[in-house]
Symmetry: D2
Subunit: 182 residues, 4 copies
């Protein structure tokens, strides 16, 4: 099973990323830090005559990494009760990706994938992060990706995710499960 970790934080080594690494410990996986890429906001051309056209940025790097993976791990800080804008722009671009004539098998490939969401926030994330999880569910349902699991962690200052024993336990448990998949 090939694993791709996308991190949506704007910090290096942010709490959500650390929690993701804990969940993936000992497994082989590719990491893409979205903050290091240039990903433009989608331009919605679904309803124009010409449709979408290639965009000159790094999105194809993300898309190609997805196409060679079986498990997608989205690790995002919870900014204002949802995923970071950095990650949202990547998700928004799926509307292009599933219509991109250069990559005709995106839709089919996504149907074979599983996804994990790891989100860390500071303001009651286990309650106020729930709408984010529901949105991910709707998104994965639309794309027919299996929503394998999610972990919500609580932390504010850098590195303090290690004080959230519950999230760490969940990460350890997810790690066990992922090992049985591969």
């Amino acid at each position: 099973m090939k694993i791709l970790l996308l991190t949506g934080s704007t910090r290096n080594d942010g709490n959500s990323e650390q929690l993701a690494h804990a969940a993936l410990q000992g497994l082989s996986y590719e990491t893409i830090q979205l903050k290091d890429l240039d990903i433009k906001a989608i331009e919605d051309l679904r309803h124009t005559d010409e449709g979408f056209h290639p965009v000159d940025d790094d999105y194809t790097k993300v898309l190609e990494a997805i196409l060679r993976s079986d498990l997608l791990v989205l690790a995002t800080p919870i900014y204002w009760y949802s995923m970071s804008g950095t990650m949202k722009n990547v998700i928004d671009r799926f509307s292009h990706a599933i219509r991109d004539t250069r990559y005709p098998n995106v839709t089919e490939h996504l149907k074979t994938m599983k996804a994990v969401v790891i989100a860390v926030g500071g303001d009651q994330p286990r309650i106020k992060g729930l709408p984010l999880i529901q949105q991910c569910q709707y998104t994965f349902d639309f794309l027919k990706i299996e929503f394998y699991s999610y972990i919500i962690g609580e932390a504010r200052k850098p590195g303090t995710i290690h004080n959230d024993k519950l999230a760490l336990q969940q990460a350890a448990y997810l790690n066990e499960q992922l090992r049985t998949l591969s």
Copy 2:
């Protein structure tokens, strides 16, 4: 009452924007199309020694417009069951704005504001758009902005919001209410 409309669509004259114009018909308001601005994703520097520093983009245009307004209308297409990444980046930047030493009264000003959310989507938006509304509620609660009202419309193709009679009725009703405020 000064009204600011922020549109999150990547299209000119998108459905959410049209619905917002319907709600604001006959009222005086300023419109900022976010797609025409350069707004960078936030860099989370809350926990660094130096804190946030000025970013060279158009965010201060948005912030200054907010500071001279009493009512904030956020009009966004529903992309993947939440606001557009374009708009999300603006919201994310609030974390900087409320700590921006150049604008010391942001927090106080926001407490005096009301907000309206107008969101239009194509896939069961009146159900699957609800998490977005919940996130806005949490956000406005945090900032102590009064969440005055929201309208969810259903449309896919450009201009078809005019077939959603329910949304148009709600816009007309909101229009009446807003007239009584000013």
Copy 3:
């Protein structure tokens, strides 16, 4: 189109019921006030050898009314951010109804039905009533009932739903739509 209105209030002529009557004005429909019936809480016997057995209460009245209807209108006050316990007990009994050997076509009949939810509450119902709507969506999805529409109204004291012009407008609009169905 045969319409069945189930009211979950414990008051006569409660706000949610009044709003439902507004939505159904001029249409022919049957009303069952759940408070006038004896509906026991479900006893979960799904996993026993003998399974469910007939219960001596008024549930079959509700079930038989559903079986002769095409549109189910659930009108409930929002008590503690969800439907009333009175109505919840009726919903819970669906677990029995779909396995009730005396009514072998419940599952098939439900798939042909549409449902409308009308909920009225006093504490920010258009925000805090959203989880209730999501639960109804999950329930109707499971039963393959079409979730046709919902209206959330705001009122506390008896009769004050008539001050909620937005809800009344939505009821008038729903009324128009329902007329085109029949």
Copy 4:
């Protein structure tokens, strides 16, 4: 710290109850199985001249147990994506309890309490159980009860909660936390 466990299942020793016992293992607590009590649906008399009057059922047993407790553990099966009707009727009766002249300190006492919710369901409960958690949050917020923690477990057949290692881990972790409180 005095702990009260209310179970909302209609089965003896249901999965949600077993998960609650796991979370409370080794601690001293009182258990009330709601299915063994006669709890009537609320009659909403808030707006009548005479107000609420005593109801001849077992509610005061529940209320008095709450009044002598510091931590309330609600263990409920997830029926149709929310708490059981049996438990909902108990929650609904809070509207009476906080206005019950025989128990003048209910409101004050609740503000000193913490609550834990333990919910077990069979159909993607970690996603589809989230609206239930949101409703509990709104309820506890209203009553100023601290929402201490929640656990969502997945199980259908009796006793199978023991296959949900993640829920068991969360129960063990909660158990540790509760020990530090007492």
